[in-house]
């Protein structure tokens, strides 16, 4: 009886593997080749191209590739910078202007499709152009808010001067009075 059950379980396991295997076999391996070139206009940054092909060299068209920049923000993390769809030659292109110059690590990720497995590629980019620093629009009351602290500073200095005057003039008055004989008019 026990032997029969064991045999049945073994057959079931083999059947499950054989059902799963064709699906895994359907997922073909792909590879992404990542490259970066300066954009036509320097101030536009870099043209990042990801070419997605199957291992046999066949281009993967109409696939979405997501691009990330690896940044340091409370530890290392990927900052999403955009996505692009591959054309007939399997090429997805993204125009990227980094926030800072220097070494950027770019990641391109294709999350796979029904028949193609997921894949990613990394690229180190030495960025020499970057987006200009962000400047908030000057608020209408800025004319006051930038000057008020200095006006307050002047008031504070005046108060300190008044305290010093009260103290020093009293001390001097008392000291001077000490040199006058009692009963004399000071």
């Amino acid at each position: 009886m026990i032997r029969g059950v064991t045999l049945a379980l073994a057959f079931t396991a083999i059947a499950m593997v054989s059902l799963a295997s064709p699906a895994a076999a359907d997922h073909q391996r792909a590879r992404v080749t990542l490259s970066a070139t300066p954009a036509a206009k320097v101030e536009q940054g870099y043209l990042i191209s990801a070419i997605c092909r199957l291992v046999d060299g066949k281009a993967i068209g109409n696939a979405t590739v997501k691009f990330y920049d690896v940044v340091e923000l409370f530890g290392e993390r990927e900052m999403y910078i955009g996505s692009a769809t591959t054309d007939a030659s399997g090429t997805a292109t993204l125009l990227y202007l980094p926030a800072q110059v220097g070494t950027r690590r770019i990641v391109a990720r294709f999350s796979g499709s029904e028949h193609v497995g997921s894949v990613e590629s990394r690229l180190t980019l030495e960025a020499t152009v970057a987006a200009p620093a962000y400047h908030a629009e000057t608020p209408g009351l800025a004319i006051f808010s930038t000057r008020v602290p200095y006006a307050v500073g002047v008031v504070v200095l005046a108060v300190w001067a008044l305290i010093a005057y009260a103290f020093i003039s009293t001390a001097r008055g008392v000291k001077t009075g000490a040199r006058i004989r009692k009963g004399d008019t000071a």
Binding site: V152, W160, A166, T170, V174, A178, R179, K182
Partner: protein
């Protein structure tokens, strides 16, 4: 001996100078032990970090900021009481001004330390000076408190000059070398000449005028630290005036308690009478009613609109998790003491003391109700924060509260407890009030 003679003034104002005794040393030992335990708790916090407190990511302001606002408020009340009474020429002020001014300085010394305790890393206070942000109320708070501290010390010192000279002339020979040197240096050669009197009156006058806007500015800047944020219960246009009034209310209550305690300790019954407590109670009632009006105005306008954040905080105060504390403050810490102080009849001193104790406690609770619910209210869609102080915060709070009477006891061991000069000046007939040099003031000659 007639209580209104020069000899009586001198005897009562100075008998405690340099004298020890069991009561003095007992008080110093008891208060010193409490202060030392508070210091131990602070060192413990310094070694282990703010993690030993109940402060957390959501409620990052707790007892320390409450105490900062509370003690600076008490200081403010002391200085304002003295300044207003001087400027209005209230004659009954004479035996009280020294006590009020000394309380102001002692409470300020304690309150000003709290932002540093709250930092956890006290060395980082240097960053405030190295990288000041002139657009931030924090830097102006430092400026306001330090300016007010210097002004308070000068305001305490100037009226002290004739009394220090009196101590020099009266007790000089019998006093120790430290006291003799201290009095000689601080008296600046005071002999009570007409020129000296004039210079002193002018100096005190300037400081009395200056200390009022200064104290207002300190508490306003402190209020703006809260009000310029978008937190519920904090972002209010009435916050600065309500802070100023709260400070005056708690400050006058604290002055009543200090006056009552030192009256009993130094035997000043002949000089500080029920009349003084009645007048101070009137001040307390006026300030209390003003505070009630401001509070209703704040809660009515915020509650009627009930914006998402302020509405949630008001709900927590009136019917939610802080309702017990809020109604305890409103009834026992505000309404009851005002009724007690306003009642006519006997026991004026006892009633004033009970009312003041309740107000001081109530105003501390009010600061708790401002700081903690405002912090606990989640601005993001999240749970309310929770805050329970640990023994470290309680020990530091109690230790700092004990530091105020300790500082006062030590101060009055070196300096007269009442201003003899002022007592004689207000008691003198009008034509003599500006006469040169009372006889005793030039006794060194």
């Amino acid at each position: 001996m007639d209580a209104r003679t020069h000899a009586a003034y001198v005897e009562r104002a100075m008998w405690q100078i340099g004298k020890g005794g069991l009561r003095f040393w007992g008080s110093v030992a008891m208060l010193g032990a409490i202060v030392l335990f508070g210091l131990y708790a602070y060192v413990y916090q310094l070694q282990r970090g703010l993690g030993v407190t109940g402060l957390n990511q959501k409620v990052s302001w707790g007892f320390y900021i409450i105490n900062c606002v509370f003690f600076i408020g008490i200081s403010y009340g002391g200085a304002m009481t003295s300044a207003i009474l001087r400027l209005t020429g209230a004659k009954w002020r004479a035996p009280l001004t020294r006590l009020a001014e000394a309380t102001a300085v002692a409470a300020l010394l304690v309150g000003a330390v709290y932002p540093i305790i709250d930092l956890g890393r006290p060395d980082r206070v240097v960053n405030l000076l190295l990288y000041p942000q002139v657009g931030s109320p924090v830097i102006w708070d430092v400026v306001a408190i330090s300016t007010y501290m210097v002004a308070s010390v000068v305001f305490l010192y100037l009226p002290l000059i004739p009394d220090v000279a009196l101590a020099r002339d009266t007790l000089g020979a019998s006093a120790g070398r430290v006291r003799r040197t201290l009095w000689r240096v601080l008296a600046l050669g005071w002999r009570g000449t007409a020129g000296q009197q004039r210079a002193l009156r002018r100096g005190i006058g300037i400081m009395a005028v200056l200390i009022i806007p200064l104290a207002v500015s300190v508490h306003s800047v402190l209020a703006w630290l809260f009000a310029v944020t978008v937190r519920g219960g904090w972002h209010s246009t009435i916050f600065a005036p309500i802070f100023v009034l709260a400070a005056m209310l708690s400050g006058v209550a604290a002055v009543i308690l200090v006056v009552a305690a030192l009256r009993a300790a130094y035997g000043l019954h002949a000089f500080i009478t029920a009349k003084h407590f009645r007048y101070l109670s009137y001040l307390l009632i006026a300030l209390g009613l003003g505070y009630v009006y401001f509070m209703i105005s704040e809660y009515l306008t915020e509650g009627y609109v009930a914006e998402e954040t302020s509405g949630a905080v008001l709900e927590a105060l009136f019917v939610g998790q802080y309702a017990t504390t809020f109604w305890t403050f409103a009834i026992a810490g505000l309404a009851l003491p005002l009724v007690l102080a306003a009642l006519p009849g006997r026991f004026a001193i006892a009633r004033a003391c009970v009312a003041s104790t309740l107000i001081v406690g109530g105003m501390w609770l009010k600061r708790f109700l401002i700081v903690v619910p405002g912090m606990a209210d989640p601005i993001m869609p999240w749970d309310w924060g929770r805050y329970s102080p640990t023994w470290v915060e309680i020990a530091i709070t109690v230790g700092s509260a004990a530091a105020i009477p300790l500082l006062l006891i030590v101060f009055f061991r070196f300096f007269p407890v009442m201003s003899v000069h002022e007592m004689e000046e207000v008691e003198a007939p009008a034509e003599q009030a500006h006469a040169p040099a009372p006889a005793f003031a030039g006794g060194a000659e």
